[in-house]
Symmetry: C2
DNA sequence: ATCGTATATACGCACTATCGTATATTCGAT
DNA sequence: ATCGAATATACGATAGTGCGTATATACGAT
C-alpha cells in the first residue's frame, strides 16, 4: 500500500495516472498532452512501473503504457478496512444507545 | 486527492493512520504504541490534520485524535472512476467480441 | 503561585527526490 | 551500414521533507 501511495503522491505522476485512466498512451503522447519533457515522462513512468501501477508493451520503438488494475483493487480493499471500522464504531454506538434505552 | 495521498505516503504517518483505524488515541498513546518521539508524533499529526485526515478534541491538556471519514470517502469515489474506466474497456471488448461473432 | 504533565513548535542537519541537460539505446527506414 | 525517431538512463544541482534536540505553551494539581 505504501509503495502505491508513494508513487501516486507526486503531482506529475498523479497527472500521468489520471491521463492513463482514459486509456493507454505512448510516451510521446503523454509528453505532449501534459507538456512535460521526455526524460521527465520516462522517469516517472519508471517509478510507476516499479510500483506496479502501469505496464508497457513495445510496438517498434514506441512503448504503450497502461494502468494495471491490481493496485487499484488493493486500494479499494484497503479502504474497506476503514469503512468497516466506522461501521464497527456505529455498531458500538448502536449497542450503547440500545443499552442506554434500558434506564431512562 | 493529492494532499490526501501525500499525507499518507509517509511510512510513519501511514502507521499512525492505521493505528487510528482501531479508534481514537491520545498523542502519548500513539507515541508509546508506535515507539516514536513525542515531537515526531505531533509533527505528523499536524500534517495529517492539515490534510484533513484527522481531527482532535482537547481533554484537559491531552488531545484525542481520530480519523475523519471524508477523505476516505473521497478516495473511494476517486477509485470509482478507475473501476468505471475498466468497465468501459470491458464493454468495448465485449462490443468487439460481439461484432467479431458475426463473421466466423 | 508554582510545579509537573501533555502537547506543540523552532531550528539545524541529513537525506531523498525531482528537474534539466546530456548521452545511450533500440529499431525502422533508406 | 547509416540515419533519424522514440525512449531510457546518467549525472550534477537544487529543493523539499523528516529527524533530533531544545524550547514554548497550556492546563490541572497542590
Amino acid at each position: 500500500m505504501l509503495t502505491t501511495l508513494t508513487a501516486l503522491a507526486e503531482p506529475t505522476r498523479l497527472r500521468i495516472v489520471e491521463l492513463l485512466q482514459s486509456g493507454p498512451r505512448y510516451v510521446g503522447e503523454i509528453e505532449r498532452l501534459l507538456v512535460l519533457t521526455q526524460p521527465q515522462v520516462s522517469k516517472h513512468l519508471r517509478v510507476l512501473r516499479d510500483a506496479g501501477l502501469v505496464e508497457s508493451t513495445a510496438n517498434a520503438q514506441r512503448r504503450l503504457y497502461e494502468l494495471r488494475r491490481e493496485p487499484f483493487v488493493e486500494m479499494g480493499e484497503w479502504l474497506e478496512g476503514y469503512r468497516r471500522s466506522w461501521e464497527g464504531h456505529l455498531d458500538a454506538l448502536a449497542a450503547h444507545l440500545e443499552q442506554s434505552g434500558d434506564d431512562p
